[in-house]
Amino acid sequence: MDVAQFLYHEARLLDTQQLEAWLELFTADATYWVPLEKDQRDPLETSSIIHDDKTLLDLRVKQARHPRAHARLPLARTVHQVSNVSAREKDGETEVHSTLVLVEFRNDKQRTWGASVEHRLRRDGKSWKIAHKRVDLVNSEGELDGIAILF
């Protein structure tokens, strides 16, 4: 599968709320990071909107399925529009840059997100696994309503 197709596949799993299948795309040592600050270098001593390892990401998906997950019941409907995909080899992994426009709708509120996204992918047979995903929202430092979706 080429890299762009893989990213579209990932987006489709999120938009069809197949969160468990989406989680399977990540390696056991994966990190999923939505920084709080522009050009943020450090996830440990600066806050992040989301900074999850695979364990936390698994818990995040489990929370979304809990019958009293008030902010996630129902889950927001989303469309992930992925474009500007470019890839290069780096340190034995494939580093992919893309842009994301995401429309989210829930509780009569519609929001539009824009982000630069970086994936670090590892070969997995004919497909890929995500070792690292970083989503830099253009408004990460702005005043934001609560975030209960996955980018």
């Binding site: 939505v34 709080l36 600050e37 943020q40 440990l44 001593e45 600066t46 806050s47 992040s48 909107i49 989301i50 900074h51 390892d53 364990t55 936390l56 818990l59 995040r60 489990k62 929370q63 809990h66 019958p67 009293r68 997950a69 008030h70 902010a71 996630r72 509780n107 430092e141 702005g142 005043e143 934001l144 309503d145 609560g146 975030i147 209960a148």
Partner: protein, 428 residues
């Protein structure tokens, strides 16, 4: 009467005219938390914030003086200082170049000849009339008269003392980024939630459940990055008896704090952890064993400083709420580093902040959902009253002006906030 001893009228949360009055009579008078001295360490350092709806700049005017002014040019009303923080010798309006010194005095205006001399003399950015600090925390009041900051804080000073006394050298600094989360709800809903021991089992049911399924915290020295946050989420699922036995204190100005809910063995990476041990050792070297023990045994949890702040001294998190409209609020969440403590401790603060208080948190997002649902309920005119009577009649007066709830789930903290609200709103 909109506020009665055990119930509140819905319009207190939903009526835009009442909100306008609140901005004048509460946010226009009370001491408001503006920030911390570490945000303005050096002369000329400044940061922007709000006092109620007023845009404000807080600035270190001189080595020994912190001031604040309304961020509005005397000429044409422009905000002279862009949002954010920095260091400035002069604040120059982008519209016509009127420039003000660090104390807000007008120093120069182009085409000044066009005015009569006395028109410009003494012109300035309107000063926040009173600015004062308690143990490094900066407060301001938009009223030129009123009680002192210390009298306003009353017994709630103990919570600030706890915050500072835990830090080696008593030094804290704002660090690690600021979360800014907003919700479609009244500002009071947040303050009324932070001391509510009856809500976590319901509101946070989903994060409690997933935290129980999380891997067990690592052995001392081998903790996972997220253990501190998982512990906190699990603690939200504590049995009813824990909540009932939690201490709940309020003050005449509407402040409140919880105690006995956490101790360091349950919550902070506990005794036996090498990082915590070296921190404790440092405190003991500095203050003596006895005082270090005392400082670490103070277990004040959430503290509400009415009407604009809430903080957690053990986790060094502070939230400042800015009301935007009757049904819209924004909250800035700050983390504090203890420069004299092992660096690793700040990682726990950040992990805690991300998972518990952050905009993408497991925990906070469910609170925000509920605030918005309360606001929608209060918008309905079909039902008039909301109940604040749990534990009413069982409050205990304590020396020093505090009142303690009969049990930890008493709604005494809302009754105290509403009594303070009424005092502000009806004062001449």
């Amino acid at each position: 009467m909109l506020v009665q001893p055990d119930r509140v009228h819905r319009s207190v949360y939903a009526d835009a005219q009442i909100f306008d009055l609140e901005m004048e009579k509460i946010f226009g008078r009370a001491w408001l938390v503006l920030g911390h001295e570490s945000q303005v360490k050096y002369e000329g350092d400044y940061f922007t914030t709000r006092m109620g709806r007023e845009p404000v700049v807080v600035v270190r005017e001189t080595k020994d003086r912190i001031g604040a002014f309304i961020n509005r040019c005397a000429h044409r009303g422009t905000t002279v200082c862009a949002e954010g923080r920095g260091n400035a010798e002069r604040f120059v309006c982008p519209y016509h170049g009127w420039s003000y010194d660090r104390s807000g005095m007008l120093k120069a205006a182009p085409f000044a000849d066009g005015y009569a001399k006395e028109t410009l003399a003494g012109m300035r950015l309107k000063a926040v009339p009173r600015v004062a600090a308690y143990r490094g925390f900066i407060f301001g009041s938009l009223s030129s008269s009123g009680e002192s900051l210390e009298s306003f804080l009353g017994p709630a000073k103990a919570s600030f003392d706890d915050f500072v006394d835990r830090a080696p050298g008593g030094v804290l600094e704002v660090a690690g980024g600021v979360f800014k989360h907003a919700y479609n709800g009244n500002w009071k809903l947040m303050l009324e939630n932070h001391l509510d021991g009856a809500h976590p089992a319901w509101v946070h049911a989903s994060s409690v459940a997933v935290a129980r399924g999380a891997p067990e915290p690592g052995k001392p020295g081998e903790e996972h990055y997220y253990d501190i946050a998982v512990r906190q989420m699990r603690q939200n699922g504590a049995p009813d008896s824990v909540w009932e036995n939690t201490g709940m204190w309020t003050t005449p100005r509407g402040h409140g704090y919880m105690g006995d809910y956490h101790d360091d063995s349950r919550l902070v990476v506990g005794m036996g952890n090498p990082v915590f041990d070296s921190y404790r050792k440092k405190l003991a070297e500095e203050k003596g064993e006895k005082e270090a023990d005392r400082a670490l045994r103070v277990t004040l949890w959430n503290t509400v400083v009415y009407p604009n702040c809430s903080f957690m001294s053990q986790f060094r998190q502070m939230r400042i709420i800015h009301p935007l409209a009757v049904d819209r609020s924004v909250v800035y969440t700050y983390s504090f580093r203890m420069p004299g403590a092992p660096q690793r401790m700040f990682r726990d603060t950040i992990a805690f902040s991300n998972v518990v208080n952050g905009t993408g948190s497991w925990v906070l997002t469910d609170d925000l959902e509920v605030y918005e649902r309360i606001q929608r309920g209060f918008a309905s005119g079909a039902v008039e009253w909301a109940q604040i009577g749990r534990g009413y009649g069982r409050d205990v007066q304590e020396p020093g002006g505090a009142a303690r709830g009969g049990t930890g789930t008493s709604e005494i903290f809302i009754r105290a906030q509403m009594r303070a609200w009424l005092d502000y709103m009806t004062a001449q």
